[in-house]
Symmetry: C2
């Protein structure tokens, strides 16, 4: 059974992430991105989708035109786990051209 990250794990992992914020009222992290246009935004989402399927770990996300808002949490653990950290790091690695939103 995958476990929610401990305080120590959070303290070591969160500083390695780029632009993610803890959500209020929920054990999840969120990042908001702005791309040049819809083509770039949906291209990014497609790369994340393929990774998500490979990891069997899927984001919650909202998109409108060039904006993407991604929320990560692990349903079966009821909070943030190492799977979310791995997914966040993958997203960070392919989102270099995006702006904060």
């Amino acid at each position: 059974m995958i476990h929610k990250l401990t305080s120590e794990e959070r303290a070591s992992q969160f500083p390695q992430l780029d632009g993610w914020q803890a959500m209020a009222g929920r054990d999840a992290i969120q990042r908001k991105l702005r791309f040049a246009d819809f083509n770039e935004a949906f291209g990014f989402m497609t790369r994340v989708a393929i990774k998500a399927q490979e990891m069997d770990h899927h984001p919650e996300w909202f998109n409108v035109y060039n904006r993407v808002e991604i929320t990560l949490s692990t349903h079966e653990a009821g909070g943030i786990t190492e799977r979310d950290i791995l997914m966040a790091k993958f997203i960070d690695s392919i989102a270099k051209g995006a702006q904060p939103d």
Copy 2:
């Protein structure tokens, strides 16, 4: 300049749509869909994305795993236009396997 649909246009067009609801407090229509799994949900989204780019008319949407929530409105008209009806009809045509959510 594209115009918001008149009452007469709404009365003739809305009954032709499948599962769309008017949103409270906003001139937009929304449909919530549930697919078999993430592969089907994101496959559906990819078809809509390609159509959206072709039409230069993009949805607002939220996805988590097999669920997709789509909102249509025309930003520059401040409400529902024929572009939204065209997009909704396209979505209906490719969402036959989905369940309401």
